[in-house]
Amino acid sequence: MSEIPLRSPDDVMRFARLGSAHPTRLSFLRQLVRRAARERWRVTRPVWRLDDAGFGRAVYRVATPARIYSLVAFSTPLDESRRTDRVIAQAWDTSYVLYDGEPCEAELDRLEANAPRQEAGRYGPRDLVLARANKSVRLFESVVAALARGEQPDPDTLAGVGYLLRTTAVYGNGKFGIADRAGVAGRPELAAPFQAEMLAVWLIRSFTLDLADHIARRRAPDRAAALAPDLRRRMGVGNATGLGMAPYLVRHPALINNWFLARETALARVRNLPVADAAARADFFAALSAMQRRVGAWTTLDERLSAAIAQLRSDLVRLAEAAPLRLASAPLPWNALYAFAERELGFEAQEACVALLIEPHGDLVDALGDSMSADEGEDLRIDGAISCAQTAQALARDFRWAFATDFSMRAAQARFWYVSAEKLEPRLGERYEEDGAELELPVAVARDMQAFAQALRAEPGETPLADFLLRQPQWRHLARRARIAARCPYSEIRENLIDAAMRPVDILRAKLAFFGAHNFDPRSDRWLRIALFAGEPMIEEMAGARDADAAA
């Protein structure tokens, strides 16, 4: 019997699937949780100096086998008129630095002089991550009030929001002077993508919950309750994510290839299993039940996603009904279930099915997490000895999807991506209504690859690519993309990213699912809110974790 292949990039790298992505056990926060449990990371709180209103500083110390990391947290008063989730904000309720080691008092003072100012501050090589978070005004005070009365907050209200604070930016990799990723990427605990950022957010989660307990206790020392452990575990950290993340995926083709390739390889391995043993079936149904509970509580004001969630709920019921028979069928029972999902269910449920199939098979797939980083230095190399004709052939082979769009249509070029002078962040402009298209970011890969191919065809076929690029250096970045695409099948989002109908939230969701986000809540077609770590164990539990799977 022939092997079930990986799903085609022509299928996977489309908005319909990117915008339906679900986190899997390969998601970055799940990788971090497993490692922390396996290595029994130990968390203590050596500094907790907060006043009655919860303002002051705190330090969470994390001992891993090789190193110590510290989350330094500052909680400061925030004038209500300055409260905004946008990245352009200038003041926040809380600010954070993930510090490499244990900060002394002088270092804490240095961080306190800078972290609350965020981008306006300067940071050093021991500062690994910089972040800030605002309270969920709706929920934070009601939780504190309930705890101060000695009561637990309403679980349904908690579930409806899913977090007490939400981050509005989490910066890593050298921004504003913090440590470069290259300097720490060799550490096993930080080798997978975004592990330092995930660690910071995981610790921020504990701080937000401890902060609520603290204020309630100071408000009513005699009768205040602490948030119950099961409710703590349900809460995550919110995040508001806008357009800044979208060009990142285009800018890092080899990296995103490795993310998708790992997930698709995991799925293919499971689909090719000859049997579904009892333990794996039990784990699958447990994961399905957990997903049904989560999806049951998933709400959004976005009409399009609301409809998709409604269909997902009914599709998950159908999946649960179909699974016993499919998983008992031989050969390739997991593939039979996936084929059912692909044939009978919507994209949301199909991508949910991907996560559910992978979930019981840690032994088979978890090592793929090690392949999700990328050494992008190699990506700058160009083989200038190949001819223009060979390059054009490679484009025809690897960018066939890019040639499907007719860019003479106005709608196909309706948008352009740029960096805003005021915000210094990527933005999306309307080409026919706004100025600035001449400063467009190189995100329109489909359009530009068509133009590159046309320029190559205008050359004598035998011309070496090096000679061509010497005369026409405007194609140089595309020659690099072409070289990457030849070996990285999932390196490109196979859509027109400047089309009038393009929805950036589809791209954002795909990236956030790889982070491990749940509760996607689009607030427009350009930004959304999510929760990270909701339902995951608290980092303080890791020291006593019996094994990684139990913890995760």
């Binding site: 605002n134 504003f176 470069d180 357009l243 700058l380 210094l424 933005r427 090096a466 010497l470």
Partner: protein
């Protein structure tokens, strides 16, 4: 002096290179070369500012006229496997050529890091790269000058773009 990360060097250099007319691909080459210079504690900031100022007076290999060769376009061509006959041609700001091709070959010239232009001798294989640091420094004034250059590739807000927005709501009321 300001202590900066190498990622900041890379990002700033790419934007400055774009602002003075280099293509996206060549700007990535400049960025990588700037990181090399910075990590070797060489004058990356001054070299970058001069590149931005002088790029327009350089010629690409093969172009007519008596202008110095552009170190970026020449370096990229060499990296791609091109084999130009340099002879005694003057190469503008050869520090950039040396940094661009460092992995593949050794470039040497007379006059030091910040010489305006000089004939360059190329040898393969590359020399053993010098030890590199993990941080860089730059003066506040030079950083401001480079940030001002980088600003040229940003798009000012318009009434339309402001109205469309991109991030969260103005007031977080939830």
């Amino acid at each position: 002096m300001i202590d900066v990360s190498l990622n900041e060097v890379e990002s700033l250099a790419a934007r400055v290179a774009r602002s003075c007319g280099f293509s996206h691909g060549l700007s990535d080459d400049v960025a990588r070369a700037a990181v090399r210079l910075a990590a070797q504690d060489r004058p990356w900031g001054e070299a970058l500012e001069r590149l931005a100022r002088e790029a327009a007076r350089f010629a690409a290999p093969g172009e007519p006229g008596g202008r110095p060769l552009c170190p970026v376009r020449l370096g990229a061509y060499l990296l791609d496997g091109g084999a130009p006959d340099l002879g005694a041609a003057q190469v503008g700001l050869p520090i950039w050529l040396g940094a661009l091709v460092e992995d593949a070959m050794r470039a040497s010239w007379v006059g030091g890091d910040l010489v305006d232009a000089a004939p360059v001798r190329l040898e393969r294989p590359a020399r053993t790269p010098p030890p590199t640091g993990t941080r860089a420094t730059i003066s506040p004034a030079r950083r401001d000058a480079l940030l001002a250059l980088a600003h040229k590739i940003y798009v000012p807000e318009s009434a339309t773009s402001r109205a469309r927005g991109a991030g969260g709501g103005r007031v977080d009321d939830e």
